[in-house]
C-alpha cells in the first residue's frame, strides 16, 4: 500500500512539473516566467530524488 501511495505521489509531482514547464513556455509575461522557474525547482528536486 505504501509503495502504491508513493508511486501516485511521484506521478503527481511529475504531472505538476510538466504543467509548470508547459506554462513557462506558453506565457508571454516575463514575471510569470520567473515565478514558474522558481516554483518548478522544488518539484524537480523531489522528482529526481535529490531533496
Amino acid at each position: 500500500m505504501e509503495v502504491i501511495i508513493t508511486l501516485i505521489y511521484y506521478a503527481l509531482v511529475a504531472f505538476v512539473s510538466i504543467v509548470l514547464i508547459f506554462n513557462f513556455f506558453k506565457t508571454k509575461n516575463w514575471q510569470k516566467e520567473v515565478l514558474t522557474i522558481i516554483v518548478v525547482l522544488p518539484f524537480l528536486l523531489r522528482l529526481f530524488m535529490l531533496k
Binding site: 508513493t6 505521489y9 516566467e33 520567473v34 522558481i38 525547482l41 528536486l45 535529490l50 531533496k51
Partner: protein
C-alpha cells in the same frame, strides 16, 4: 528582449540553480563517514541480518559487535535515533572506535535511523554537516534530522496511528524512529527499522538497550535518564552515582506507561531486554536560538537561549560558556560506563566490563576529537563507513 531569448536565459538560470542545489543535496546525502573500529570489535554486521525487510534500504545500518574474553551481559548502545542530536552519535562513535570488552557483549549502532542522517530539517536552515577537529585533521559528519528522509518514506498520513497501541500521534512522527517502537514487519520504513532492531534484541538476547539523545533546554526531560520500570533501581543508582562522582548532574524520570512508540517504553514491554534513554542538553534545538550554525551546534553558545534562561523559561542552566559538544558527549560516555559498572555490581553473575573509553573529564579535557581514529592509518579490514 526577444521572448525566445528571454525564455532561454531564464530556463538556463533555472537549470543552473537545479544543478548546483541538486549537486549539493546529492553530495551531502552521500557524505561518507569513516569508522576505524577498535580492536575490541569482533564483527560488523548489517541490520538486515536480523530482518530482511530493511535490506537494500537507507536504514540497513552497520552494527558493531564487541565481544569480551569472558561471557556476561549483552548491552546495545543506540546512537543516531535522532541524528540532529549529534552527541548521541558521537558518544557511540567513541565506543566503536575505542572500546575493548573484557566481559560481556556490546552492540553499538551509530546510525539507528540512517535515513534521517541524510536530510536536514526542511525550512530550518540547518547546516548539512559539521566537523570535529582531531590531531590528524578534521572528521566530517552528516548533521541529519529528527525524522526519516522524505525521499525514503513519503507521504505522511494526516494522523499517525501508532502500532500496536492505536494511539494517535503527530503526523510527522510516522518518520520518527523514537515513536515507532516496537515496529512491524509490513509497516513503513521507520516501523520496519524498529522491528529489525527488536529482532536483533531478541536474537542476540540483549539485556539492556541504551538510547542516546539530546534535548532543547526548553524541554523538561533534559539532563536525565528515562527508565523503563524493569531497571528503575539500576537507573536510580546510576543517576545518584553520576551526580555524586562526576562534574554534572543527572536526573531520573520514569517512562510513562501510556505514551507509546518510545524506546524506553516499548523495548521493555515487547522483549526481555530493559531500556534506558539518556538526554544531554543541546541549545541548537531550542526554538529561541539565534543563528543555526555549525559553530552554535558545536559550542552550544547562544545569547538568545541565555536570555530565555534569564526569564526562567529553561529546564537546564546555560551561561556564556554554552554547552560544548565535548561536555555533551562526555556526559553520555560517563553515563554508559557508569551503567555498565552499576549493572555489574547488581548482577555479578552477568557482568559487563568495558575498557579504553574516556569518561566525562577526559573528553572535556582532551576534546572528543582526541578519541577519533585516523582513517588514513587504519589497518585493512578495520575501516567501515556510515
Amino acid at each position: 528582449m526577444n521572448p525566445l531569448i528571454r525564455k532561454l536565459v531564464f530556463s538556463t538560470a533555472g537549470l543552473m540553480l537545479l544543478v548546483f542545489s541538486g549537486t549539493s543535496f546529492y553530495q551531502s546525502r552521500r557524505l561518507k563517514e569513516p569508522v576505524v573500529v577498535s580492536d575490541g570489535v569482533t564483527q560488523v554486521v548489517k541490520l538486515s541480518m536480523y530482518f530482511s525487510g530493511v535490506e537494500g534500504t537507507a536504514n540497513d545500518c552497520n552494527i558493531y559487535i564487541l565481544e569480551g574474553k569472558e561471557p556476561g551481559a549483552t548491552f546495545c548502545i543506540l546512537g543516531g535515533t535522532h541524528p540532529e542530536e549529534p552527541a548521541g552519535r558521537l558518544a557511540a562513535w567513541i565506543f566503536a572506535e575505542n572500546a575493548v570488552l573484557q566481559k560481556g557483549t556490546l552492540l553499538v549502532v551509530l546510525s539507528a535511523n540512517r535515513s534521517a542522517t541524510t536530510v536536514t530539517r526542511v525550512g530550518g536552515a540547518y547546516p548539512p554537516d559539521f566537523s570535529i577537529p582531531t590531531s590528524w585533521g578534521e572528521q566530517d559528519f552528516r548533521l541529519g534530522d529528527r525524522w526519516s528522509n522524505p525521499l525514503d518514506q513519503w507521504p505522511d498520513p494526516e494522523v499517525y496511528i501508532h502500532y500496536p497501541s492505536g494511539q494517535y500521534l503527530a503526523y510527522v512522527d510516522v518518520r520518527n524512529l523514537n515513536r515507532c517502537w516496537p515496529g512491524r514487519a509490513n509497516g513503513t520504513l521507520t516501523e520496519r527499522t524498529t522491528f529489525a532492531f527488536m529482532e536483533m534484541i531478541r536474537k542476540e538476547k540483549v539485556d539492556l538497550v541504551i538510547d542516546l539523545h539530546e534535548a532543547e533546554l526548553q524541554y523538561p526531560v533534559i539532563s536525565t535518564i528515562v527508565t523503563h520500570e524493569k531497571v528503575q533501581d539500576l537507573a536510580a543508582i546510576v543517576s545518584m552515582t553520576l551526580t555524586d562522582m562526576e562534574e554534572f548532574k543527572m536526573g531520573l524520570e520514569f517512562s510513562p506507561k501510556n505514551l507509546h512508540g518510545l524506546s524506553h517504553r516499548e523495548i521493555g514491554d515487547y522483549s526481555d531486554a530493559a531500556s534506558l534513554l539518556f538526554e544531554a542538553p543541546e541549545p541548537f534545538l531550542d526554538a529561541t536560538r539565534g543563528k543555526t550554525t555549525r559553530e552554535q551546534l558545536l559550542t552550544g553558545k547562544d545569547d538568545f537561549v541565555v536570555k530565555a534562561g534569564q526569564h526562567g523559561l529553561l529546564f537546564e542552566k546555560i551561561d556564556a560558556n554554552g554547552w560544548p559538544i565535548d561536555k555533551r558527549v562526555g556526559r553520555h560516555t560517563s553515563s554508559i560506563l557508569q551503567t555498565m559498572a552499576s549493572w555489574t555490581e547488581m548482577y555479578p553473575d552477568k557482568p559487563l566490563v568495558c575498557d579504553s573509553v574516556p569518561r566525562y573529564a577526559d573528553v572535556v579535557t582532551h576534546g572528543m576529537g582526541q578519541y577519533l581514529r585516523n582513517p588514513a592509518q587504519a589497518r585493512p579490514g578495520r575501516i567501515w563507513y556510515e
